[in-house]
């Protein structure tokens, strides 16, 4: 048994033992859980995958005359932002598109530039165009604002993810006779391919399946900078079916994340376009797990073979919200690049970059080793009783 405070003392003295969620698998197999739990202090987990539920909010300082953005319209590089706040605040979402973008026409649309790309441009230090139209008041007489601005020009630029770090995800396939264009990529007809999206054994919440250490307030690697778990993520759904070892077999828990965009790096925040679907943001996340006891260690030693994902048809079952059963498959088989569905061999590829997740887990390990990143104790645990339910349309 260890405490977070004890581990932090070891980190400060340069004596902490830190391994990645991949490295702990071999260690646990060689030395056993008991010894590994005693010897290792921290396990680093990571993911680098597209997440549409990403965004950023900004604050601009006063102009002469003052302009009130709240209630008006705000655009960054022609991309509409949300301005229903006070005078200087506005919010940008990763999937937001310029009003003159042709969307999904001609089909499939290309979605070359949207909110995700804009966030990447800002992080890279590029100048962008800020435009606002609003109404005049006694205290804010200005009606228009048009200027160039870069990330340094904002008072605050904060990355916020209402949802990220999905604990497991679907394996998407297409049972129809036509190619379909989805947020899970291009799916070929008649089970032509399968796309999955999780770093599996490196994925944060799959290494802490009952949220024993990751909770509200946990300090994390976010987009190459430092961030925090702000809350449980939207659609948090921990009550799904789990394996005997406690691993959810379908999308389950999620995290809401927050961090200073000014401290992040373009390398770990990439705008992305999904043909026929839209724009999103690929976000690099790394989360440390303090090995406080044997049980936490056993969970963190989870391997791809023990993590099962649900195969879902995206031509009918997903869009129509219908139940379907195409079975489950483990990540070891997915990563081999071929899985069997209905007796057929189907090529499987990933939307989530395992090599980049590995790089993030290594980077976070170095940060902790170097003493610049201390662990935190969760302020509050993530709930286990929240449910994700369909909407009743009245």
């Amino acid at each position: 048994m260890k405490t977070v405070a004890e581990i932090n003392e070891k980190i400060k003295k340069g004596k902490a033992v830190i391994v990645t969620a991949e490295e702990i698998i071999d260690l646990a197999e060689k030395k056993g859980i008991k010894k590994t739990a005693r010897e290792v202090d921290v396990v680093t987990t990571a993911t680098f995958a597209p997440m549409c539920s990403s965004g950023a909010y900004f604050n601009i300082g006063p102009t002469k005359p003052k302009v009130r953005l709240g209630g008006g319209k705000v655009y960054l590089n022609d991309i509409p932002c949300y301005a229903g706040f006070a005078a200087g605040d506005f919010l940008l979402g990763a999937t937001s598109l310029p009003e003159n973008d042709s969307r999904n026409r001609p089909y499939p649309g290309e979605f070359r530039y949207g909110g995700g790309h804009l966030i990447e441009d800002l992080v890279s230090g590029k100048d962008v165009k800020l435009e606002a139209h609003t109404y005049s008041t006694n205290c804010y007489p200005g009606e228009k604002l048009s200027t160039r601005i870069n990330i340094k020009g904002f008072n605050e630029a904060i990355l916020f993810n209402p949802r990220n770090c999905y604990q497991n995800y679907n394996v998407a396939v297409n049972l129809s006779r036509e190619t379909i264009y989805t947020y899970m990529g291009v799916l070929k007809p008649n089970l032509g391919n399968a796309h999955y999206c999780s770093s599996g054994q490196l994925s944060p919440l799959l290494n802490d399946p009952y949220y024993q250490t990751i909770g509200i307030g946990t300090r994390i690697f976010l987009g190459g900078g430092v961030g925090y778990v702000a809350w449980y993520g939207t659609q948090h759904n921990p009550g799904v079916e789990r394996t005997k070892k406690g691993i959810p077999k379908e999308p389950a828990g999620t995290l809401a994340l927050i961090g200073d965009l000014k401290g992040m790096k373009q390398q770990w925040l990439r705008g992305a376009s999904f043909l026929g679907y839209g724009v999103t943001l690929i976000v690099g996340i790394g989360i440390p797990i303090p090995l406080l006891n044997e049980e936490i260690c056993r969970y963190a030693a989870v391997k791809d073979r023990d993590i099962y994902a649900k195969i879902v048809d995206y031509s009918e079952s997903y869009p129509q919200n219908k139940k379907g059963n195409l079975g489950k498959v483990n990540y070891e088989d997915l990563k081999k690049g071929k899985i069997t569905i209905r007796g057929r061999k189907v090529p499987a590829t990933s939307l989530s970059s395992y090599s980049k997740a590995r790089e993030i887990a290594e980077t976070l390990k170095m940060w902790i080793k170097g003493g610049s990143f201390l662990l935190t104790e969760a302020v509050e645990k993530l709930p286990l009783n929240v449910k994700f339910k369909p909407l009743k349309v009245r």
């Binding site: 291009v186 032509g192 705008g271 043909l275 690929i282 990933s350 395992y354």
Partner: protein
Amino acid sequence: MIISRKIVLRFPPDLIDQPIVYRLVKDYNLSFGILRASITPKKEGLLVLELTGKKEDYRKGIDFLSRLKIKIQPLSKDVIRDEDKCTHCGVCIDICPTQAFVLDPKTREVKFDKNKCIACELCIKICPPRAMRVSF
């Protein structure tokens, strides 16, 4: 000596109805594989060929094409991967018809083999971070 090259040919509109590939076979003893063919709305033809034959025949065949004012470019430089943009996710792997993308099972990085690329451009639009580019 037998050589084999992948080339991009651009035909001016007045040559669209000429049996040019036939002449390459008949008069210059070259064998060919069509990797891609299209005609633009302005009636310019684009043909991507893999041309194989004796070195001397190949040279003469290319001379013949040049005389007809067909623009010739080697294909190898055409599809480029921006290494800074590629995130090595892997969605290009199952889209590519010639298996030019292969996942290294150890590093989990996606390798791009230009020699296998036929410049069909399928990867360009489906790459989420838009790391693939074409330049004819």
